[in-house]
Every structure is written in structure tokens, then in C-alpha cells.
């Protein structure tokens, strides 16, 4: 897919909670086609500590409004600066990057999208695609506490939403991989994005139950478009770049210690 370097303009900055922000951006021209699971490499101006671009998943594309959404978790100087963006400011990004989630192989497939933390970001967009193309999907979202659960309203537009919190303040108590829905393993496809330990637990569950499973990795990146070879993950085909061969991998190809 052709990649573009675009200056997008912030149209909305919605503070979701103490460490999450939803940025909505637009462009004077029509946004390029972006697939669910793809990401952008974002240049952070005005921060002396952010020499390299920052990879951020595409959270949603609103084609009618020509809007692109980014869900930002503030963890350091780059994401802090993004979270402080004001309406009218521009953000320079290279987009779209990476591969995408693969479509389930049948419209009847029982699908779970399992996310944790900022990992819900690509799942919203993927859920909307699945919904649009007639699939039925279930979102399973885990978080530390109620306040950390994100975009539940948005997600519920495209499928059932199941939640767990570690402290039991919302949904079932525990990790998302302990959710009762998983007691009877009748899913055909699982897609997951979130902290690596969570994704590994999901992968283990999928492998044990012979379920197709894709995970979206978040390796550290220097370029984001395949030149630097910094972002590799070990696979059965050797070291592959997460930015071009991923971020989405079938977990059976990953050399994860699970």
C-alpha cells in the first residue's frame, strides 16, 4: 500500500481519563485507505526528548467526516506532547504502515477481539470493519480498574462487550483471560492487542484450544517502514520486522515462550 507523509489537523482532543486521550484529526484532502491494524509514525515536534517518530495505531477512521482517530496512552514525553495537542495544531505522520488483521474465513465465525490497556486502539477499527462486512464479534476488554476501561460505548456499537477489572470495580473480577466467556472455548478466531503478558496468555489459550489467533505487537521502532531492521521479532521464518511483516502476526509463527 502506498504510504504518505501527511500533516493532519487536530479537530478534537478528548481527555478520556487520567492517562488516556482520544485525538481526532482531519486532512484537507481525502484520507488514504487505511486497514484495521495499521499504524502511523508520528513526528513529535517541540519535545527535545523525542528524536524518533512514535508509532501509534489507527484507532478509527470516520470516512464521512474524513477523520482519523488516535487513542493515546501517556507514558512519556512523546505521548504527553500528543495528548497536549490543541485544536488546529498539526501532527505530521507517515501512514498507513504495517499489515492488518486477516479476515475470519467465514461469516459465521465466532470472533473474539481481546484487548488490554491501549491495546483496544486497533480493535475498535477492526470491530467496525467486521461489523460493516457482516461479521458478529465480541469485544473482551481487561483493565486494572473501571477508570482504565476505554471506549466501551464505541465498541458496543459493533459487538457485545465483555469486561474484567483486576480490582473488580467493573465487569468480572480478574484478568480478561479469566473471563467466564472463555470457559467454553467455542471461538473460531481470536484477535488480540495489549500488554505482552496478556497477549501471551491469550495465545496460550488459543493454542491449547486450537483457535486461530492473531496478535498485534508493539515493538520499539526507529523508522516504521522497513529500513532500519530494529523492530524485529523472532518467528519461524527468522527475525521479521514488526513494522512491515507485522504488527499483526499469527501467534503460531511467533517464537514466544508461552
Amino acid at each position: 500500500m502506498k504510504k504518505f507523509i501527511l500533516d493532519l489537523t487536530v479537530v478534537e482532543n478528548q481527555r478520556l481519563n487520567y492517562q488516556y486521550v482520544l485525538l481526532k484529526l482531519t486532512h484537507k484532502d481525502k484520507l488514504p485507505l487505511i486497514l484495521p491494524g495499521q499504524f502511523a509514525q508520528i513526528r513529535v515536534d517541540g519535545s527535545p526528548e523525542t528524536f524518533l517518530r512514535r508509532p501509534i495505531s489507527i484507532n478509527f477512521v470516520d470516512t464521512e467526516r474524513n477523520e482519523l482517530w488516535l487513542l493515546i496512552q501517556v507514558v512519556g514525553p512523546g505521548t504527553r506532547r500528543m495528548a497536549e495537542m490543541k485544536i488546529g495544531e498539526t501532527l505530521n505522520m507517515i501512514v498507513p504502515l504495517g499489515n492488518s488483521f486477516s479476515a475470519p474465513n467465514s461469516l459465521d465465525a465466532r470472533i473474539a477481539l481481546i484487548g488490554g490497556g491501549v491495546g483496544v486502539a486497533p480493535l475498535l477499527m477492526f470491530g467496525e470493519w467486521l461489523h460493516r462486512f457482516g461479521y458478529t464479534c465480541n469485544f473482551m476488554i481487561g483493565a486494572r480498574s473501571k477508570v482504565d476501561l476505554l471506549q466501551l460505548d464505541e465498541l458496543s456499537k459493533y459487538g457485545e462487550v465483555y469486561t474484567t477489572t483486576e480490582d473488580g470495580t467493573y465487569g468480572e473480577k480478574g484478568f480478561i483471560t479469566q473471563h467466564s466467556l472463555l470457559n467454553t472455548p467455542d471461538f473460531d478466531c481470536i484477535y488480540t492487542c495489549g500488554p505482552t503478558p496478556m497477549m501471551k496468555a491469550v495465545a496460550r489459550y488459543a493454542q491449547e484450544n486450537n483457535i486461530f489467533c492473531e496478535a498485534s505487537l508493539e515493538n520499539m521502532m526507529a523508522c516504521g517502514f522497513g529500513t532500519c531492521l530494529c523492530c524485529v521479532t523472532e518467528t519461524d521464518k527468522g527475525n521479521l520486522c514488526v513494522c512491515t511483516e507485522g504488527p499483526v502476526f499469527n501467534v503460531t509463527n511467533l517464537k514466544w515462550q508461552i
Binding site: C228, L229, G238, N239
Partner: protein, 303 residues
């Protein structure tokens, strides 16, 4: 529009802007962003005799105005390059250099011989920062006799533009540059990365899987400029300057201190089209300051 051509030994480049090895892939990754025929040349990824998987992840750490990398020469080997990559890139309308990396003199010679037969590759860049396996891991590039030995051996079999890339991790870069010149290198590229390291105070672990890695980016520009200046004043063959070049002004600084051409490295990650912008910026600088050709500013620093 000034005359941007520059000469590296026998080879004429359309302009003095090359892209640095390991930071521009084989050019293909940048096709969406720019027109490769606009730049003077491309130095492709470090190529070893046999396929290498490189180092384990993590291979990268961001540092103040720079980055560390520990890619470890991941590549599919020389024969794969010849069979599968060369055909795709040979018709690019720019000068393609292969960055040759070995861990014995023999390996350097074998790769160079193979590349010598490729019509559309006008030159190689010898990366002598790799550890010498026989001498116990010390890099060829930090020892005069070792550097001389490998250049001498490659010179015998390689008939086109032989550029040798110097390591900055040395006490006296001039001494090594002269030894390499004496063995018949056509040009010198200065500098490769500086050896550095990064630690995460929180986890108390090194950030790179290899603990140490190569520092690049604007942080090293002052060191690179100094080394290019020292080397250019000491040798007669052309010097290609690199290290932290982010824009045309940086590039011009390297030309002023004596580089006949420059390479753009880490900057490609931040702006994949930066090399073309640097060509345009040099052009504008020459026009604005009444210079008719690049050669007028090479070594043009006024002391």
C-alpha cells in the same frame, strides 16, 4: 542551478548526497516518498558473505538527539543479494554502492570479488568496523595494520570505486586514514557509529540485547565534523562525510570542512524524503551565495 556533480576518484556522482548504509534499505522502501534518481547515490545495507540473522531484539534505544542500534548486520548474504536484490535495483538511475562487511580478510575479498562482477554497481564501501574473528574480535577499523591488510587484499580483486568507511572509535583517525590511502583506496567515508550504551534505570537492565551499540544522529555531528576535517586535511583521496546530517545546512558544514560528498543516515528514519530535500537545499545555498559548483565549497571553510 549550480553544478552539483562531484567526483569520487574515477566515479562521477550527479550530486554529493548519498544515503548511508543500513538507513535506507535497498532504496525500495523509500520509493513511495521520493524519486531515487534525484540523489547522488545509495549505499545499500551491510552485506556479509553468508546470511546473518542479526542480534536479538531489542536492537534500538533512543538517546538525546540520537539513537543506538545493534542490528548486527542482518542480511541474506551476498549470493542472495546478487540473485534477488540486484535485479530489482540495478536500473535505478543513481550510483549504488554495496556496503561490504566481513569478519575475516578472506570474507571481504570474496564478497568484493562477487560484487565486482555486477555491472551496475560502480562501487563498494568497505565497512571495517566489524570485529576480526581471527584477531579475537578487535575491529579491523581500529588498527592500522589490520585496516591496511584488508584494504590491500580487497584492492587486488576489486577494480571499481573502493570507498572505505572509517570507525570513529579510535585515538588517531588520521593515522588509519593514511594507512588505507596508501593501500590504494579510492575514497574514505567518515564516520561509522560511535560505541555507546543505554540502561533503563527502572528495570535496571541494559536496553539493547547486546548491551552496547552504535550511536548515530545529530548527537555525533560535532565529532564527525572534526574527524572529516582532520582526515580531509591529511589525505589526497576524496572524503565522504557523514554523522548526524539532518538537513542541508548540516550537509554544507561537512562539505565546507572538506567532504566531497555526504551521506544521510538516521535522518532517513525521521523524514524518508530528506535526502532529496538536502540536494535541493545545497543547490539553493550555492545559488544564494554565488557559487557555480559544489566543488567550490568543498574544503571551503575560511580559517
Amino acid at each position: 542551478m549550480a553544478d552539483l556533480t562531484t567526483k569520487l576518484g574515477t566515479l562521477q556522482l550527479k550530486n554529493p548526497v548519498l544515503t548511508a548504509s543500513g538507513t535506507f534499505g535497498y532504496g525500495t522502501e523509500h520509493l513511495d516518498f521520493m524519486d531515487l534518481s534525484r540523489i547522488g547515490g545509495i549505499v545499500v545495507k551491510g552485506t556479509t558473505l553468508r546470511e546473518r540473522q542479526g542480534n536479538p531484539y531489542p536492537r534500538m534505544a533512543e538517546t538525546p538527539s540520537g539513537m543506538l542500534n545493534a542490528v548486527g548486520l542482518q542480511n541474506k548474504g551476498t549470493q542472495y543479494f546478487v540473485d534477488h536484490i540486484y535485479p530489482n535495483i540495478k536500473d535505478y538511475d543513481t550510483s549504488i554502492f554495496v556496503n561490504v562487511s566481513g569478519s575475516t580478510v578472506d570474507e571481504y575479498v570474496k564478497i568484493s570479488e562477487i560484487i565486482n562482477d555486477l555491472d551496475k554497481i560502480p562501487g563498494i564501501e568497505l565497512n571495517i568496523s566489524c570485529p576480526n574473528v581471527k584477531e579475537g574480535g578487535m575491529s579491523f577499523g581500529v588498527s592500522c595494520p589490520l585496516a591496511a591488510e584488508v584494504v590491500k587484499a580487497v584492492r587486488k580483486v576489486y577494480k571499481k570505486e573502493l570507498m572505505v568507511k572509517l570507525s570513529p572509535n579510535v585515538t588517531d583517525i588520521v593515522e588509519i586514514a593514511k594507512a588505507i590511502e596508501d593501500e590504494g583506496a579510492d575514497s574514505l567515508s567518515v564516520i561509522n557509529t560511535l560505541l555507546g550504551m543505554a540502561v533503563d534505570a527502572k528495570s535496571r537492565k541494559p536496553i539493547l540485547s547486546t548491551i552496547t551499540g552504535g550511536l548515530s544522529g545529530p548527537a555525533i555531528k560535532p565529532i564527525a565534523l572534526r574527524m572529516v576535517w582532520q582526515v580531509a586535511n591529511a589525505v589526497k583521496i576524496p572524503v565522504v562525510g557523514l554523522g548526524g546530517i539532518m538537513n542541508a545546512t548540516d550537509a554544507i558544514e561537512f562539505l565546507l570542512v572538506g567532504a566531497s560528498a555526504i551521506q544521510v543516515g538516521t535522518a532517513n528514519f525521521i523524514d524518508p524524503a530528506i535526502s532529496v530535500k538536502i540536494v535541493d537545499g545545497i543547490d539553493k545555498y550555492l545559488d544564494d551565495n554565488g557559487f557555480k559548483s559544489v566543488s567550490e565549497i568543498v574544503g571551503g571553510m575560511i580559517i
